[in-house]
């Protein structure tokens, strides 16, 4: 469990990234922080592994204040995936995946075989293990980034716009893959994005942030869609623009879903199975 307890961050030059933010991320839950740039979402995420120290308030992991923990040890037990993968260009793919086990002194052979198994787990051929990151496509690099974050079997995964730099088709693949992994592994995931569709897809709980880390609304995707807290949320999720205000029309005996501008967007089937 991760708990933000009235955290704030003001930089020495006086700019305030986060004013006063509180949130509880339950164990094994996936929570998405979503907001535009300047909403402080990345700053908040980095408080968890002490890449950023809050100037007020506390961040607790399982009721233990992270400020009292050694930052290097703390980071090794938290998986971190960032945009554009952040892989080390001078290490092979397998070496990159084995970064944390290697730092922790696990033998080269054991960490390598674990790395190759992890590559398979994230849907990559283990033969890619001996390549350098620059020889992989963007989507493949992101998968390697996820494998690396999982290498030390951390309880917590921090994901900072991990799929922001890949094309939409690959992004959809990666999102599906993450949902599959999460259903198998049950990590505590804190995910940051500016893409509301991604947030609704991946988050059991979604937190919509206004500039300065102010929570506009917090809830499940359906709660937020059904009952947006204010105009800001309404605009942000797109329901105000009619993008999500859909209605049904019957065409040739089938139910066609039409958006507010009259554009058909899909066909209605029986209720889909709920996602596990």
């Amino acid at each position: 469990m991760i708990r933000f307890d009235h955290v704030g961050k003001t930089y020495p030059d006086g700019t305030t990234a986060v004013e006063d933010f509180s949130l509880t991320v339950d164990s094994h839950a996936s929570v998405v922080l979503v907001g535009t740039s300047g909403s402080g979402k990345t700053t908040l995420m980095r408080m968890v592994n002490r890449m950023v120290d809050p100037t007020s308030g506390r961040v607790l992991i399982d009721d233990e204040d992270v400020a009292a923990m050694d930052p290097v040890k703390l980071r090794r037990r938290i998986g971190y995936v960032m945009q554009a993968s952040g892989l080390l260009p001078h290490r092979t793919v397998a070496e990159n995946v084995a970064t944390v086990p290697h730092l922790e002194g696990v033998s080269r052979r054991r960490s390598r075989s674990r790395a190759l198994a992890l590559l398979e787990m994230v849907g990559l051929d283990h033969k890619l293990g001996d390549r350098y990151p620059s020889q992989l496509s963007g989507g493949q690099q992101q998968r390697v980034g996820v494998a690396r974050a999982l290498a030390a079997d951390p309880n917590i995964l921090l994901m900072d716009e991990p799929f922001g730099a890949v094309d939409p088709i690959v992004r959809a693949e990666l999102q599906k893959e993450l949902l599959r992994l999460q259903s198998e592994l049950g990590k505590t995931i804190l995910f940051v994005t500016h893409d509301i569709d991604e947030a609704f897809l991946l988050g059991e709980k979604v937190v919509i942030l206004k500039p300065g880390g102010v929570v506009a609304q917090e809830g499940t995707p359906s709660q937020i869609l059904a009952d947006p807290a204010d105009d800001f949320v309404e605009t942000f999720v797109g329901s105000g623009r009619g993008k999500r205000a859909l209605h049904l029309e019957e065409v040739d005996g089938r139910q066609v879903v039409v958006d507010e501008s009259g554009r058909p967007t899909g066909v209605l089937h029986a209720a889909p199975e709920s996602r596990s």
């Binding site: 592994n49 890449m51 290097v72 040890k73 980071r75 090794r76 971190y80 960032m82 945009q83 554009a84 993968s85 952040g86 892989l87 080390l88 260009p89 001078h90 290490r91 970064t99 944390v100 730092l103 890619l128 390549r131 350098y132 620059s134 020889q135 992989l136 496509s137 989507g139 493949q140 690396r148 921090l158």
Partner: protein, 216 residues
């Protein structure tokens, strides 16, 4: 040709002496420049000052420096220590700005990512930042090596044995073969060292040369 064949021993001796005076400053300049550059990069004002200072230092004429240094260091005018100290200074003047650029060229997000994985600060410098600055550092080192090999010859004027002495002596005694062999050997030594550095770079930084190919 006959002069060369008759003096092979002398040529070998001068070549070794030359190498003995060139290698220490090259190595010293490289090793010292990295911490200086690292320190300079962490302080904005220091970086500007050092870059400008390094340029000025390189503008100091070498012959007067070779003459002044023995007075400062208390060494004899023909001691090779003077040459080594002077050339280390010139080497630093070239290498510090180059190392500073090399370290700055390492992507900030890669470094942040390394921190996020749990690299402690020194480990991050040693096994991430330094290797990633490697290709640019090697480029700087090549310039230092070639420049140092050529500057060692100036010591010949003062009577410090090196390949430079061959052309000083050759001019005085009007032996063209001696002048030419001095020049050719100096150039050959510079090229050889340069090649060694390039090869060493390829061995140590294999990733920098495998940018080809690509997956899906």
């Amino acid at each position: 040709m006959t002069w060369i064949l008759a003096n092979l021993g002398l040529l070998g001796e001068r070549l070794l002496a030359h190498l003995g005076q060139a290698l220490p400053p090259i190595v010293l300049a490289f090793v010292l420049a990295i911490p200086i550059a690292k320190l300079a990069n962490s302080r904005g004002w220091l970086r500007g000052g050092l870059t400008a200072g390094a340029g000025l230092l390189y503008a100091v004429p070498s012959l007067p420096l070779f003459i002044v240094l023995p007075i400062v260091l208390g060494t004899g005018i023909r001691s090779s220590v003077n040459i080594i100290v002077a050339l280390t200074i010139y080497g630093l003047a070239l290498m510090v700005p180059s190392a500073s650029e090399a370290l700055r060229s390492v992507s900030g997000s890669t470094l942040q990512s390394a921190t996020a994985q749990g690299y402690a600060p020194f480990a991050r410098f040693w096994s991430v930042e330094l290797p990633l600055a490697g290709p640019a550092l090697v480029a700087g080192l090549r310039v230092v090596a070639v420049s140092t090999v050529s500057l060692v010859t100036v010591g010949g004027v003062l009577g410090v044995p090196s390949l430079g002495m061959l052309f000083v002596d050759g001019f005085q005694r009007n032996i063209t073969a001696e002048i030419l062999s001095g020049i050719v050997l100096t150039a050959a030594l510079a090229v050889a060292l340069d090649l060694l550095i390039v090869l060493g770079g390829r061995l140590l930084l294999p990733w920098a040369h495998s940018r080809t190919g690509g997956g899906r």
